[in-house]
């Protein structure tokens, strides 16, 4: 029993550590420019869409929104009739977002409502990048008691022989039961409710897919960031297990979106390699996000919600 307590204790410490790390990861990496407020968000124009009127995108989210924001800054969008406002919700300088905890629904503060209203005013598409990292909590670093599972959609993927096999429905339960997942879905629901309640016709409200995983353990070792200590202790989880957890998490978030009545914008197909890993060109200088090349293709998908034939050039 003592051994079991030890394992449980290590696991609980590890989860707490990962949560701490993910909490800190929602803060922007220093090398990435931070939008201080919607008024300062990138507004660029490139190849004009078929429609002569301007397409306005307004986005809100956590760390995964950086790839879109950076993409919008890299491209010279002027003259294209496209403007992008992307608000990082964890940036300093924002007013408090939520009123003191009001279970079960989160409610925005009046100050944040003002900001939301300004940022989304006239937007043709509202996009959200929320609920993106829960799978990393379980997957990035090897668990002290390694586990694996069968992904229903790809049951032929090999199982790690050194791992404990956990029923796939229980792995989904484990993801859902994480504080990180539950909290992020509450936030997602709050944003969706706010924008749905505005009842603006023909304005899609969409959630962007979670970026695929970076398969390379070497890359993750190269950019361990806050995970360094845990990676040194337990190693990086095999890529197939990380892939399965990403896929499972994506399915859960997509199901939440269906329940909420909003569209889930899938990962751009050009950003997936033959194994459904993130293509190497889109690897950033960290372990858990995607870079601006990925952001460009997501941006393109978002614009296509209003201008289906629109295309953006690759980053130079």
């Amino acid at each position: 029993m003592a051994g079991e307590r030890g394992i449980l204790s290590v696991a609980m410490q590890r989860v707490a550590k990962l949560r701490e790390i993910f909490a800190s990861k929602t803060k922007p990496p220093p090398e990435i420019p931070v939008p201080l407020a919607p008024s300062l968000a990138s507004v660029s124009k490139v190849n004009p869409p078929s429609s002569s009127s301007e397409i306005r995108l307004a986005g809100f989210g956590y760390s995964h929104i950086f790839s879109i924001l950076t993409a919008s800054k890299l491209l010279d969008l002027e003259g294209l009739g496209v403007s992008v406002s992307a608000t990082l919700l964890s940036q300093t300088g924002l007013p408090p977002i939520f009123l003191p905890d009001v279970a079960p629904e989160l409610k925005f503060t009046p100050e944040f409502c003002d900001l939301l209203e300004a940022a989304a005013e006239g937007a043709d598409v509202v996009f959200l990048c929320i609920a993106g990292n829960a799978h990393q909590t379980l997957s990035l670093v090897n668990h002290p008691m390694p586990f694996d599972f069968v992904l229903k959609e790809r049951p032929g993927l090999p199982l790690n022989q050194q791992s404990e096999i956990v029923p796939s429905r229980l792995v989904a339960e484990a993801l859902i039961n994480q504080g990180g997942y539950v909290g992020s879905i509450r936030i997602l629901k709050a944003f969706v409710k706010y924008f749905v309640d505005q009842e603006i016709p023909n304005r899609p409200i969409v959630q962007c897919a979670l970026p695929p995983i970076i398969p390379s353990a070497a890359h993750i070792h190269q950019y361990p960031a806050h995970f360094r200590e845990l990676i040194e202790q337990y190693g990086v989880t095999p890529e197939l297990i990380r892939y399965k957890l990403w896929k499972l998490h994506s399915q859960l978030v997509e199901a939440e979106c269906i329940n909420l009545g909003i569209q889930y914008v899938a990962v751009p197909s050009s950003m997936l390699d033959e194994h459904e890993f993130l293509v190497k060109d889109a690897w950033p200088q960290d372990s858990v996000h995607a870079n601006e090349r990925y952001g460009i293709r997501v941006l393109e998908q978002l614009i296509r919600l209003k201008a289906p034939s629109f295309s953006l050039p690759d980053a130079s």
Binding site: R5, E164, V166, V171, E173
Partner: protein
């Protein structure tokens, strides 16, 4: 006055002195322990529903309950029960009959491979015929089904090879077997998976010789891999839900329990290191005025389980010198997440009840 053997018999041999004149909660039919369990011994449990009570109480009382197939730490604790983690010493579900136990052993060691080893539920999920209610809605894919069963067998082998004490509760004599190879199912096909077909399944009501031979074979095989394994047999006091015989369920139940009780006696006398513990007598004995059964005359009350476990601890537990029995009985597992969760498993998962639905 004529001398006769009863004159030298102890008080417990007389109904008037050990039952009629004794407070029900003080009735003690155990008399003496036949083997001892130390707090460090790895104690494994298996069997029918009543064995779940024993597992739970062993954990709550600080015994080294051997759980060879624990839930992974990522699994939310509230899911343990429905996925059958911690209910018995591995995820084999209820083992109602001696035939099931023997075949589990043989299957785990690759010596018996039933020809019909999976069912579908009509919605694409796979059901394990030998543990049809092991998890909600079965297995989503064949890969998961195979992987889980391989892991399960591996854990079962670990369990049998490393346990110190094996507590097995004999539950039923009635069972359904494959006409093709005799594979014994815990539940009639069609009740919780599969579909009933009289050409593929037949009813068997095990007799004393059947149960005795199954169990002695199992014990002998177990000791080839674990020579020091000690075994405690009990007979479940929980009556059967339904009978497949054409007679009243009460009559069938009496027959079934009688067979099991006789077989347990023969088995315990037939091998060293095998004890019979009379939980059946404690719960079903008339001395308690049937107060150890709930209103359905089937479910065992907490008071009944308390009586059983109190005597079990008294006669079978080797207590540390500085730990009086009372403190062991009252101990909870509040500091250990796993054992705390075990203690929480009050909703017993008795899949036999599915027969009634």
């Amino acid at each position: 006055m004529t001398q006769h053997p009863y004159q030298s018999q102890p008080a417990y041999a007389f109904w008037s002195r050990s039952i009629a004149g004794v407070d029900p909660e003080k009735v003690d039919p155990v008399v003496r322990g036949q083997l001892q369990i130390s707090m460090s011994d790895r104690v494994a449990t298996a069997g029918s529903c009543f064995a779940q009570h024993i597992a739970k109480r062993l954990v709550a009382n600080g015994f080294n309950f051997f759980d060879a197939e624990k839930a992974h730490p990522i699994v939310p604790a509230e899911q343990y029960s429905s996925y059958n983690y911690g209910v018995f010493s591995a995820r084999f579900g209820n083992i109602y009959t001696s035939r099931q136990l023997l075949q589990l052993f043989l299957r785990a060691y690759g010596e018996f491979q039933p020809k019909e080893d999976r069912w579908t539920d009509g919605q694409g999920n796979l059901i394990d015929p030998f543990r049809p209610r092991i998890q909600p809605n079965g297995f989503q894919t064949e890969s998961e089904y195979i992987a889980d069963r391989m892991q399960h067998f591996s854990k079962v082998r670990q369990l049998f090879s490393e346990l110190d004490v094996f507590i097995f509760t004999l539950g039923l004599t009635e069972c359904w077997v494959s006409t093709e190879d005799g594979a014994a199912y815990p539940l009639c096909p069609g009740v919780s998976g599969g579909s009933f077909d009289s050409s593929r399944y037949r009813f068997v009501n095990l007799g004393v010789d059947d149960v005795t031979n199954d169990m002695l074979t199992f014990i002998d095989r177990l000791r080839t891999i674990n020579p020091k394994a000690r075994i405690i047999l009990t007979v479940s006091p929980v009556p059967m839900v339904a009978t497949a015989e054409d007679r009243h369920v009460l009559v069938s139940n009496t027959y079934s329990k009688s067979v099991l009780r006789v077989a347990a006696e023969i088995i315990a006398k037939g091998r060293p290191g095998v004890a019979y513990f009379p939980s059946y007598e404690i719960i079903s004995g008339s001395f308690s005025q049937f107060s150890y059964y709930d209103r359905d005359s089937r479910s065992v009350t907490d008071a009944g389980v308390n009586h059983v476990m109190k005597l079990f601890l008294k006669y079978y537990a080797v207590m540390p010198a500085d730990l009086p029995q009372e403190s062991i009985e009252g101990r909870t597992a509040a500091n250990d997440p796993h054992t705390t969760e075990m203690a929480r498993l009050v909703d017993l998962n008795c899949d036999e009840v599915a027969l009634d639905s």
